[in-house]
Symmetry: C2
Subunit: 155 residues, 2 copies
């Protein structure tokens, strides 16, 4: 699936749903990410983690978010029109992500609002759900994205 | 500054403020993180970024969050008592983070609530502010953390 490079703000219609993935979570990558950014033994030490509260190594929640971002960049965000993100609301980690998990992402556009101050862009609010192969959610969040309007769009 | 390994839920009093850092942001690390997790040229290609909307390379917002997590693990979260995070609210990226920036973190405990279902722990809500050397905020968020109560605590 190619990046949707030709899409603009007007193409993200509230109610529309986009699904993509998977990303397969790798144990070595869980450990590498966590050693650098979240060095807690539940994320870095498989032996410790086996006896820990989750019965095995789990990914840092920030690693799950980063994997999700990679899927959004590769398969969802329009390369030309995507400008920036002001932030994220209601990020929740629902279940542990483990080595071998296959994560898929479902994005539902909630709201599309033209910018008041900059007429060339609009703000999208989207519900982003990250699910395992069996459909159970591991992470959900509301994403905010500034996206360029189609060239020549006015009003 | 050593990790506050001996602290428990009771030690995180609403209104208390903890400040720590810095983490110095490195250009090569910005590019390495972004190539893996957020491969947009504003984060991966210094030449492209110089002519882009921010006049230079900027860190992925998720990279800033990951750097913040490393500071929290090294200098704030109690190693023994920290159990998990259910999530994050109101994450906002206010200004671009650039190579050479020195990030500091200020955590203010907002609320400390005992768990209803598990009497050995409580939930902290904290305002987390990431600021540059001049004090200007680059990222803010509300963090949620499940933290173990002091052994023997009851009621």
């Amino acid at each position: 699936m190619a990046p949707e490079a030709e899409l603009y703000f007007e193409d993200f219609v509230p109610g529309s749903v986009h699904e993509f993935g998977p990303a397969v979570v790798d144990e070595a990558e869980i450990i590498e990410f966590a050693r650098r950014y979240d060095p807690q033994p539940i994320h870095t030490d498989p032996d410790w983690a086996r006896t820990g509260p989750f019965g095995g190594l789990i990914a840092s929640g920030w690693h799950t978010a980063a994997i999700t971002m990679r899927l959004l960049v590769d398969q969802y965000l329009p390369a030309a029109a995507s400008l920036a993100s002001p932030g994220i609301d209601e990020l929740r980690w629902h279940r542990p992500v483990r080595p071998g998990d296959e994560l898929r992402v479902r994005v539902t556009v909630i709201e599309a609002r033209l910018s008041r101050s900059k007429p060339d862009r609009g703000l999208l609010r989207s519900r982003i759900e990250v699910v395992e192969a069996d459909g159970s959610p591991v992470m959900t969040m509301i994403g905010l994205n500034l996206v360029r309007r189609r060239p020549g769009a006015t009003g």
